[in-house]
């Protein structure tokens, strides 16, 4: 029995906080949030949002489970299958999270409430859909009060989306550095001139940034300024304007290196079929409940693991691949699959206050099975990572590993070596098996028909 503890990320909001007790997640609602919490329920807003899949559901438990004195209620929220962060989302995931936040704000206003924050970290993906997880984000709204979260919405959502759509999709990674969203003056400086011609971006980013700059010192110089008045139609118009600005942002992935991977490789149709059959069989043999598919590309093999009953996170380096996978998922309907962005040579680190607010990749594991198909040559050859180091990195992530060894005879490897010196004498099937034998034992090794590749199902030695 571990001692109960507050979640490291849950400390800014005085209304309450998240904590775990005996491995169960709870949310303590403090007395100061009483009126707002009652309004959330009595107005029907909670029920309406939960029924539409926009807000995480919870059940109320005994206040005796509270971690600290002063609790009004203790909630047990439905846990999210996997916690992901906005810098791991593809363009459309961030856009959908933004639109969901604005829709929630509209619904709140209809019932006399408003979102008091608009952080991208308040949204998580469940079964492929964005869901607000912060039940305490709502407070009663009186006409005249400005939207406190306007700045935060523009920084967390509008700015990075505009940069991804108008400059380069990779600028979404700025969210790793700027934990409270992209500063508006930075976004304004980076956006191209044509963005000034779009009303939404001109207003909510460029002019907004100017206003921020102008008033940066004014509080110090003149004292607290008059809080301005925003009418109901003004507030509704503001939200509508933001919806329009976000809605118009689009990113069409141009052909990228991996976008056409399967059309472009040396897999014959028979090889593809055999690989599909083998993966299906080997995943089923492991009966995993949770899977990480590293280098999952557009999620073709990830979906085999979903079909086997697992919750799968499909990680890939290429924003276009993750985007395609996510858009496909939206059409398929809700299922336990989450496509996310990841650079395995520089995986998500623990960041935020005291480097404890946002968890690293490894901290969000382990899972039952890791899949590493058509991946190892990119790590060992393109990135010069020794095979032993790859095995050491993968071992703590899961007790079982399904990995495809891609030898030098393969045309993909030939392509990687085409423009560089072959210094990889130790990249051989024997060396691969020896490197991994240090950490794993082989359960099965199956060559893929009509190719030189071999699929291995490995079990970690201590598992």
């Amino acid at each position: 029995m571990t001692s109960p503890e507050t979640l490291k990320a849950s400390f800014r909001d005085p209304s309450g906080f998240l904590f775990t007790r005996d491995g169960v997640l709870y949310r303590q609602v403090d007395e100061r949030y009483r009126a707002a919490f009652d309004a959330l329920n009595e107005s029907g807003l909670y029920r309406g949002l939960v029924d539409d899949g926009l807000l995480v559901q919870h059940r109320e438990v005994s206040t005796e489970l509270a971690l600290r004195p002063g609790a009004y209620r203790v909630l047990q929220p439905e846990p999210v299958p996997f916690v992901s962060y906005p810098y791991e989302w593809c363009f459309s995931q961030l856009k959908d999270a933004a639109l969901a936040t604005l829709r929630i704000q509209q619904r709140a206003l209809e019932r006399g409430m408003v979102l008091k924050d608009a952080s991208a970290y308040n949204v998580q993906f469940c079964c492929g859909r964005p869901v607000l997880i912060d039940t305490l984000s709502f407070e009663p709204w009186r006409e005249g009060e400005p939207w406190v979260a306007y700045r935060q919405f523009c920084q967390h959502f509008l700015a990075p989306l505009a940069l991804m759509a108008h400059c380069d999709v990779r600028l979404g990674q700025l969210l790793r550095i700027h934990v409270d969203g992209v500063p508006l003056d930075l976004a304004s400086a980076l956006l191209p001139a044509r963005s000034w011609l779009r009303f939404g971006l001109l207003t909510h980013l460029h002019l907004h940034a100017k206003s921020q700059a102008r008033h940066a010192d004014s509080a110090a110089r003149k004292g607290a300024p008059a809080a301005p008045r925003v009418s109901r139609s003004g507030m509704l118009g503001l939200v509508d304007s933001l919806l329009s600005a976000v809605g118009k942002l689009a990113w069409a992935p141009a052909a990228t290196e991996w976008g056409d991977y399967y059309a472009d490789t040396n897999y014959t149709p028979a090889a593809v079929d055999h690989k599909l059959e083998l993966v299906r069989k080997l995943v089923a043999a492991s009966s995993p409940r949770t899977v990480w598919d590293l280098g999952g590309n557009t999620g073709r093999f990830s979906r085999l693991a979903v079909a086997a009953g697992a919750h799968v996170v499909s990680w890939d380096l290429d924003p276009a691949a993750v985007e395609k996978s996510y858009l496909h998922l939206k059409q398929e309907g809700p299922r336990p699959l989450l496509p996310l962005l990841l650079d395995l040579t520089n995986p998500s680190a623990a960041i935020g206050w005291a480097n404890e607010e946002r968890m690293s990749l490894a901290q969000r594991g382990p899972v039952d099975l890791v899949m590493a198909l058509a991946l190892i040559h990119h790590l060992a050859i393109s990135n010069n990572v020794p095979l032993e180091r790859i095995a050491d990195f993968l071992a703590p992530l899961a007790p079982r590993l399904l990995i495809e060894f891609v030898p030098k005879g393969d045309s993909q490897v030939q392509r990687l070596l085409a423009t560089r010196e072959d210094i990889f004498d130790r990249y051989t099937p024997e060396a691969f098996e020896a490197a991994f034998a240090r950490r794993y034992e082989t359960v099965e090794a199956q060559p893929i028909r009509e190719s030189v590749r071999v699929l291995y199902l490995l079990r970690r030695r201590d598992a």
Binding site: D117, P146, P228, G234, S241, S325, H328
Partner: protein, 82 residues
């Protein structure tokens, strides 16, 4: 200043000045607050006009177009990835 005038000025000042909800814990940003009021005035007018325009169109039997939905599938058909 007359007492009525003073009371009026005070009433207006109380509306304009003074801290708002204690629950709002994030920093709204001074520039963002002021700017928002300006934007809200502009878009508020536009929004109200849009509402009345849609109602007018509704009277003539034409449904107004619904804005982009977070949960609707994308317009472009992605097809199966192979």
């Amino acid at each position: 200043m007359s007492r009525i005038g003073y009371a009026l000025a005070l009433a207006i000042a109380v509306q304009l000045v003074g801290p708002r909800e204690a629950q709002a814990y994030i920093d709204p940003g001074t520039g963002s607050f002021i700017f928002q009021a300006l934007v809200a005035m502009v878009v508020g007018v536009g929004f109200t006009l849009k509402l009345y325009w849609n109602r007018l169109k509704g009277l003539f039997g034409r449904r107004s177009a619904l804005p982009a939905d977070a949960t609707s599938p994308p317009a472009k058909d992605e097809g199966d990835v192979s």
